[in-house]
């Protein structure tokens, strides 16, 4: 485990100057089930993307690209909202 920096080395006042660096924290290991997509059923409606609490559905050029498994917490909302039932939650236990 790396040594944490001392008070002389960090920005004052608890300021976080690297905006959005939470991305470095991998919440993907919270999961007990993971979403899996059936691309044949997916129509790229992006309903899953707009409902994901963790910005963990990657969309490129208006199309579903992939799940961000580094961050996906396996909540299952995407599977629940998909109108084509293209997403299933698979146990990772």
């Amino acid at each position: 485990m790396s040594e944490k920096p001392g008070w002389k080395k960090i920005p004052v006042a608890g300021l976080i100057v690297d905006a959005g660096n939470a991305r470095e924290y991998k919440t993907g290991d919270w999961r007990t089930q993971k979403p899996v997509i059936d691309r044949d059923l997916c129509t790229n409606c992006l309903t899953c993307w707009v409902n994901c609490p963790d910005s963990s559905i990657i969309v490129e050029e208006g199309k579903f690209k992939e799940f961000d498994y580094d961050h996906c917490k396996g909540c299952g909302i995407c599977a629940g909202v998909c109108p084509k039932k293209a997403i299933s939650m698979v146990s990772e236990r």
């Binding site: 992006l46 707009v50 629940g80 939650m89």
Partner: protein, 316 residues
């Protein structure tokens, strides 16, 4: 109203890696709100689930400027930021054509209760900002304590169902009406299950000049003892029972939206309150005995009364 495809091309303003619960309705709502406008925003948030879980030092999920001050004062804090913006523009220390919008986020605890004063003051003074209340119906961050937004009969840790008392004894306060009484240019109720409605309202709220307000019912699977995968059904049932009608108040005029409008026009069925209550463990005890049944009946009557009132207001 931009399509999801257009919205998906915008930069995500809330990064992944925040530590809100899996399936948190608040994070869905906040994402949808932040993507609704292309204008740059500065955000203030009250102490609560959203603020705490998105800014655990040294990590921040906010890709926009963000300030957390204390629990009850995100509205006061944002008016300070907004005033400085106007001050600096006036003095030529900020680009004249730069248009920045200001958003304050607070939970129901930090808004309906302890934050009500600051909200009221900010609305009355007419600052150009949007206040978003992510209403998950209790003080969730500290472990599910009742707030004035907690529905009647709900089991929370400070209004527990016990041998004598069956959960919260008071009705949910109507904050949206209180805000509307301040004569704001725009106020609305929404929920992320109807995402196009929420995004549309968020854009209107943010891009309208003056003080605007969004009250967003945000399902909390943990605190409501509900299934996170039933996220969409939870929000939609709240609307279908008319417990949480979708409406806007634009310059004082009430307008029903979406499913709520369809129900008011007789084009869709108004569902009974039990449909909503039976989805959540926090109401389970109400189904166990006569005392609980009576509470459900009274709660249904209150929903019906409030719904008639909203319909009447929308027909003015």
């Amino acid at each position: 109203m931009p399509s999801l495809k257009t919205l998906s091309a915008r930069e995500e303003r809330l990064s992944p890696g925040h530590r809100l619960c899996a399936g948190c309705g608040a994070s869905v709502a906040v994402r949808q709100i932040l993507m609704s406008t292309e204008l740059p925003v500065v955000v203030a948030a009250s102490t609560g689930c959203l603020e705490v879980a998105t800014t655990i030092y040294p990590y921040s999920a906010w890709k926009v400027p963000f300030i957390h001050n204390a629990f009850e004062n995100s509205a006061a804090t944002i008016t300070g930021v907004e005033s400085m913006y106007r001050a600096l523009k006036k003095r030529g220390r900020l680009d004249q054509d730069k248009k920045i919008k200001f958003i304050a986020f607070g939970g129901d605890g930090g808004t309906y209760d302890i934050g009500l004063q600051a909200l009221s003051g900010a609305l009355e003074r007419g600052h150009d900002f949007t206040y978003v209340c992510y209403d998950n119906e209790a003080y969730m961050n500290t472990g599910i304590q009742r707030s004035s937004a907690t529905p009647i009969g709900a089991n929370t840790t400070t209004s527990p169902c016990g041998d004598e008392i069956p959960g919260k004894r008071d009705y949910k306060k109507n904050l949206t009406h209180i805000v509307v009484a301040h004569d704001v240019p725009y106020a609305a109720q929404a929920t992320p299950s109807y995402y196009m409605d929420l995004i549309n309202k968020a854009q209107k709220a943010i891009e309208t000049d003056g003080p605007t307000f969004l009250n967003v019912l945000s399902p909390c699977p943990r605190g409501w003892r509900a299934d996170a995968t039933k996220f969409r059904e939870l929000g939609q049932t709240a609307v279908a029972t008319c417990l949480w009608p979708l409406y806007e108040v634009v310059d004082g005029k009430y307008v029903l939206n979406g499913m709520s409008k369809r129900i008011a026009d007789g084009k869709a069925e108004k569902k009974p309150l039990v449909d909503w209550l039976s989805m959540q463990g926090r109401f389970k005890h109400l189904f166990a005995d006569e005392k609980g049944k009576a509470i459900i009946e009274n709660a249904q009557k209150k929903v019906d009364r409030d719904w008639e009132k909203i319909k009447a207001l929308a027909s003015i």
